[in-house]
Symmetry: C2
Subunit: 357 residues, 2 copies
């Protein structure tokens, strides 16, 4: 539940949400999905926050996506009743018991990418749970090759699962210049995998994909569902990939200048508030919203050292907004998001923070 | 307060502490400091856990080091009454009020590295608070150059602070082959800075340094105090720097094998449980305790993809212990550390988790 913050601003560093930008982005992506005739099932791992998920639902989201059973339980407790756990879950006795409880409150779909995982899920849960076969479209993380999707779907169905289709994550869209290519790979892999299901006698109702960088390029002639996460806030990765303008960034880490050591800007944000993410193509450990020329060249737990390329340093004691490289990991470090709306500060709890299992 | 865990093991991924290794390492470092005649003031940011700090105190630690005011408040509430906040704090009205409350419960020392920071701290707190001048010995993060320490010490003393000496962090010890060099830089910088204080008429009582990689090389003829943090648990960085054997690692992230996609091991640990740290010299995103040949080649929020160099993959559904690259960031993602001692599982709360401000 959101609460107002009567004591004033929290100590820095803290995560600050711009609600106007947030609502605008949620509405825009929902409208695009609607216009393209595909379902939108946002990944709530980015915000882990009921208030944001409610805005997404109000804008027309068709259920939510989560990464873990713990996240699913948290959102089900808050009334979300159509949940896709986009992950090749391993269900042992304990997690199967949790899953049975969850199925009493929500329609749940899980991912499968191995005969072992499918057999174990089927043995524990049978047709009470829906499943999508995970396909690797080029990110090479998890998932089977598209040509193997039919065989795995049959194994899963024989194990008792209600197989509804296929899903993929075009994570290789997170690289400069590869975004369009990843969207092509996504459509091709989902189309081939769906065809393999059909040949095997299982009708694929869901062809699910989507990532924030490739979102505008996903082939909605093939896909039936999109699962973007980061789009609600944006981050320095999206800024540097060119898939989002800094004017669109809706979450920053407000920090204090604590030093000008060695002629550089030293902020009290660090890897314990921003996350330590740095993709090989990133130009630093995060960006400064009001100083596009700046680069965070050194990051430790409570220091972000920025080189301001010769421009004047904001004074010691002043406040600076840092754009984290990867917003999902920054949010997962905070217990609260602070929302400034028309001069009123509201605290949104990150209810699913740390729900990794 | 630690509690036993009657329900059995938590869901993976979770952080697991080996208490025998932990106690051994705490005792060994305390004995070395004692033998060298220097104070040991461990940095509790690594564990953020009262149970571990109590073991350090029982082994002879002379107070504790923290990075933030929030960490200081947390440990003061648990009876720790001699606290060094090794950070160039900016004290505004709100944090100065918190600091005054804290001073009612503990002797507190803060860091200063700018005239502005010293003036603001002095204006709010005066001689109720002790201060050490921070010196940059080569890490180039925060701190003044050693030759400037005398001038800043005088400024801080005139602002009303009780200046007790100098401190540094030889963070450039975190690089293969530079550990010994960093220890030499540390001693040289502290000695020069202390001499500058003396010349300026301020007797330096404390010359504080230390980092886990350089710990055995710190010049205890110069330093009066050591502030290591990571040594209690160890991590993959220490393993790869050669400053700790894997047999000495006391904290792992226990994870489940969820897939064999593309012939690689896919674990349910990811950047939301391990942290995303990867130093330029690291060979991957973490190591596997029982598979020294393995490298985590791809890390996302809930997937760690390991290449096992052709050795057989542990089966899907089995458990694997991951050694995080940087243990401080892994601990700060967890609410609980699970301690297995002679078959009994105990939960230690990470009480200062997320206390960034």
């Amino acid at each position: 539940m959101s609460t107002s913050v009567p004591q004033g601003l929290p100590p820095t560093p803290y995560l600050r949400v711009d609600p106007v930008r947030l609502r605008h982005k949620i509405r825009r992506v929902a409208e695009r999905a609607d216009a393209a005739g595909v379902a939108l099932r946002p990944h709530v791992k980015t915000h882990k926050c009921v208030e944001v998920a409610k805005l997404q639902r109000a804008a027309g989201a068709d259920g939510i996506t989560v990464a873990t059973l713990g996240e699913a339980e948290t959102f089900a407790r808050h009334g979300f009743d159509d949940i896709f756990i986009a992950y090749p879950l391993w269900l042992d006795e304990v997690s199967a018991r949790r899953m049975r409880d969850l199925l009493g409150h929500a329609r749940v779909t899980i991912g499968v990418d191995s005969p072992e995982g499918a057999a174990e899920a089927g043995r524990h849960l049978g047709e009470r749970v829906r499943a999508l076969v995970e396909v690797d479209c080029g990110h090479h993380r998890s998932g089977v090759q598209p040509r193997a999707a039919g065989t795995l779907a049959v194994t899963a169905a024989r194990a008792g699962l209600d197989v509804r289709g296929v899903f993929t994550f075009p994570g290789h869209s997170y690289a400069a210049g590869r975004t369009g290519e990843a969207a092509v790979d996504e459509a091709r892999a989902l189309a081939e995998a769906a065809e393999r299901l059909r040949v095997a006698g299982i009708e694929p109702v869901v062809l699910s994909g989507g990532s924030t960088p490739s979102l505008s390029m996903s082939d909605t002639g093939v896909l039936t569902e999109l699962r973007p996460g980061v789009y609600v806030f944006g981050d320095a990765q999206q800024w540097e990939l060119g898939t989002m303008s800094p004017d669109d960034v809706a979450l920053t880490c407000r920090s204090t200048v604590v030093s000008h050591s060695n002629g550089r800007l030293v902020l009290d944000a660090g890897s314990k508030s921003l996350g330590a993410d740095r993709a090989p193509w990133a130009t630093g450990y995060g960006r400064l919203l009001e100083h596009p020329e700046a680069r965070i060249v050194l990051l430790s737990e409570h220091h972000a050292v920025a080189d301001l390329a010769g421009t004047p340093l904001p004074p010691i004691g002043s406040r600076v907004d840092v754009v984290p490289n990867h917003v999902c990991n920054a949010v997962n470090l905070a217990d609260t998001l602070y929302v400034e709306d028309a001069g009123v500060l509201t605290a949104w709890p990150v209810v699913a923070r740390g729900q990794n299992g």
